[in-house]
């Protein structure tokens, strides 16, 4: 399987790079550093034009890594066997679960991923047929422009060219803004560790992908509910399934456009709001919401000293005039 992303496109994205890395991932990191550097200059010293243009050029045109991988979850095919949970637990060497993976009593409550389980399956009532509940696998959706990455003040997150959003605990100081920022509420924190707490979440088996394998959950899925592949191909597949079975599916690919698109996508037989998906999210990446504010920062840094300095000068000017008038009055008084 060829897992190398389109090199020409990446080259274009990081054009002007002087210190190219050896792999595509390295290049992305360098690209971020250049963006980060220009932004740092703008934010800290207020070199207005270089900074804002740098930010705008680097991120406005970035519509995600071409040829990145993803997973399509077909909720109509999932039977709630939790094989994916088990495979994930083993692949990531996570601690043993509180209840075994064949215990269906876990479905009695709605669960979210934790630091011990990067993916969980929840059960929802099927409005079409009550005897056939709908199961939904929850994990990190690996956004094309992730809010966790946007929120992180230390760049602990990386959007890899292969698709997964990865996290580096060596850079994290534990502010947990990424947890607040994530529109899906995915990052879990190791609150019980005093010395080495870290964020834990699905990695989309990044190391396995780099070895040419597919994610552990998709490999383990016995029903074909999880399809691993290139995001572009998954979109075509999802559209085809919806077109071929218009009665079976709702006409929506969740993750195609939500918060700018995600690498993990879903198709389902009932509207997504009935399955606990957040459906109030903007179509554009969340970084767009803060771009205007951050763009104004260098302007304030540049203009404020001049503006308030002028006000101060005006005040001093008036004081000087008052002083002159006073001494002139005094002189006249002496003359009289």
């Amino acid at each position: 399987m060829n897992i190398k992303p389109n090199k020409a496109a990446i080259k274009d994205e990081v054009a002007g790079e002087k210190t190219g890395g050896d792999g595509p991932e390295q290049k992305k990191t360098n690209g971020m550093n250049r963006r980060a550097f220009l932004g740092t200059v703008a934010t800290i010293t207020g070199v207005t034009l270089v900074g804002t243009q740098g930010i705008a050029r680097a991120s406005a045109d970035f519509s995600g890594w071409p040829n990145s991988y993803g997973v399509l979850t077909d909720l109509t095919a999932c039977v709630g066997c939790r094989s994916c949970e088990k495979a994930c637990n083993e692949a990531n060497k996570l601690p043993a679960p509180d209840k075994p993976f064949d215990d269906s009593s876990v479905f009695e409550e709605s669960r979210m991923p934790t630091q011990k389980a990067y993916t969980v399956v929840n059960r929802y009532e099927n409005p079409k047929d009550k005897s056939k509940p709908i199961y939904r696998k929850v994990q990190c959706n690996h956004c094309k422009e992730p809010a966790c990455l946007t929120s992180c003040p230390i760049h602990a997150y990386t959007k890899t060219p292969e698709g997964p959003v990865t996290y580096n605990p060596d850079l994290c100081f534990g502010c947990r803004y990424c947890m607040t920022a994530c529109p899906f509420g995915i990052p879990a924190y190791d609150y019980w560790s005093a010395l080495e707490p870290r964020i834990q979440k699905c990695t989309m088996c990044h190391s396995r992908i780099k070895e040419g394998k597919i994610t552990a959950c998709a490999e383990a899925c016995p029903t074909g509910a999880l399809t691993f592949g290139k995001r572009e191909d998954l979109l075509k597949l999802a559209r085809k399934r919806i077109a071929d079975n218009p009665d079976k599916y709702v006409d929506h690919i969740y993750g195609e456009n939500e918060v700018g698109g995600t690498n993990w996508m879903y198709i389902a037989g009932v509207p997504f709001e009935q399955l606990g998906f957040p459906t109030n999210l903007p179509k554009r990446p969340l970084i767009e919401e803060t771009k205007g504010f951050l763009g104004a920062v260098p302007i304030v840094l540049t203009a404020w000293p001049a503006l308030f300095g002028t006000i101060y000068a005006a005040l001093r000017h008036r004081d000087a005039i008052d002083e002159e008038n006073k001494s002139a009055e005094k002189k006249e008084g002496v003359k009289k």
Binding site: G39, I55, A156, G174, W192, E196
Partner: protein, 417 residues
């Protein structure tokens, strides 16, 4: 006379320095007298609060955050940031507002309140950082955004840089008071020369990070209730910090004049009623501006229909009950020249600001999650730690007011203002 003091200091032997320094710390009392002076009902209550809160704080660093927080993935931030950072920072705008009013806009009559404002601001930021250190998973990495990784696309990166820089700026701004207390004239001269530069730096940094605290929530359109979420969030946070600062100065000066009267000089006490009315007038204007901004915010996103929902009622309690009503009270107090009414409105407005910031950071966030209102009740240990840190804040504030020339001008420097 000034040279005399310098001579004395340089010639002093180590023993003299020690007695001089202990005299500073104990306010020229002997140890037994000093301890006796500490036995007050307020201090006994403070001691009880600290004896509960500080051990919990220590255990939080031993067992991890789970010991004194919800440890919830859905609710990563609780009272430490909601109260300490988001609530504390707008109330600490006092330094930048008072310095700007005095040095840049020329409100020279407010001189007696200038240092009090700067001190309130400095301590407010210091404690905001302390609350942050309590909340950070790895607080010893606090310098990482400055040296290790530059996440310039993050609003929090900007907040980190600006709060760190501004804390330094405020320390320099307050340092003349410390240096007068320590009778270090030459260094004081240097510090005073920096004043205008520091004031303008303070305006820039405050404009940006007060608004940035609001901008942090721009990332969560899916989680924050539409009545609180707005593209105007940075404007809301900045404009409300202006009146928050004025109300805070009213509150702190009222408490100081009431409980530390012997530290206040006659200039402070005599001018305070008139200055309080002036501050009240400014606060009223600020609140009306903020009120209109909030209305524009609802209109901009056409969120009127949310007003007739439970969260809408809560929003109206905040906007009418804690913005419009105190604003009207300020106006009434100023019109009737009633210092008492203005002071009451000041306390009221301070409470209103905290109410707003808690709403944004805790109550209106994640409002769609099941059993949301149940989840946001803080665990008692978290509340105990917050109470202990707030108590230390008050004690340090009082410690400084008792010693340094803040509520009174230092006799050696009375003429230099």
């Amino acid at each position: 006379m000034n040279t005399d003091i310098v001579m004395k200091r340089t010639e002093a032997s180590p023993v003299d320095f020690r007695s001089w320094f202990m005299g500073k710390l104990l306010m020229n009392m002997t140890w037994p007298d000093y301890f006796r002076s500490l036995l007050t009902p307020f201090n006994i209550v403070a001691a009880i609060i600290l004896s509960v809160g500080l051990p919990i704080l220590a255990l939080r660093f031993y067992y991890g955050l789970a010991f004194a927080t919800h440890a919830s993935n859905e609710y990563p931030w609780g009272l430490y940031l909601g109260w300490g950072l988001f609530g504390g920072v707008p109330l600490s705008a006092t330094g930048f507002i008072m310095a700007t009013a005095y040095y840049i806009f020329g409100f020279k009559r407010y001189h007696p309140l200038l240092r009090l404002g700067v001190l309130t601001g400095f301590l407010g930021y210091l404690f905001a950082v302390i609350y942050l250190l309590v909340d950070l998973g790895r607080p010893w990495r606090i310098y990482y955004p400055m040296m290790i990784g530059f996440g310039t696309q993050s609003v929090l990166f900007l907040v980190a840089w600006h709060v760190a820089t501004y804390l330094t700026v405020q320390f320099v701004e307050f340092s003349p008071a410390i240096l007068e207390w320590l009778k270090s004239q030459r260094v004081r001269k240097w510090a005073v020369m920096l004043t205008i530069g520091m004031t303008i730096a303070g305006i820039i940094l405050s404009t940006l990070h007060q608004s940035a605290l609001g901008a942090m929530y721009l990332l969560v359109p899916g989680k924050l209730h539409p009545l609180w979420y707005s593209s105007y969030l940075p404007v809301f946070f900045l404009s409300s910090s202006v009146y928050a600062a004025l109300a805070m100065v009213i509150m702190v000066s009222t408490l100081a004049a009431r409980f530390l009267k012997k530290r206040c000089d006659s200039e402070f006490l005599e001018s305070l009623p008139k200055l309080t009315l002036g501050l009240g007038q400014g606060a009223a204007v600020g609140m009306y501006v903020y009120f209109v901004f909030k209305i524009i915010g609802i209109a901009h996103d056409d969120n009127w229909h949310y007003l007739n929902t439970p969260y809408g009622y809560w929003f109206l309690i905040e906007l009418v009950g804690f913005v419009l009503v105190p604003a009207l009270l300020f106006t009434y107090g100023v019109k009737k020249q009633s210092v008492g009414v203005v002071r009451f409105a000041g306390f009221y407005a301070v409470f209103g600001i905290i109410f707003n910031r808690i709403n944004v950071s805790i109550i209106a966030l994640n409002w769609q999650l099941p059993e949301h209102l149940h989840h946001i009740i803080p665990p008692w240990k978290e509340a105990a730690v917050v109470l202990a840190i707030a108590t230390i804040h008050v004690l340090i504030f009082r410690w400084i007011l008792n010693r340094m020339p803040v509520l009174h001008a230092h006799p050696d420097y009375r003429e230099t203002h």
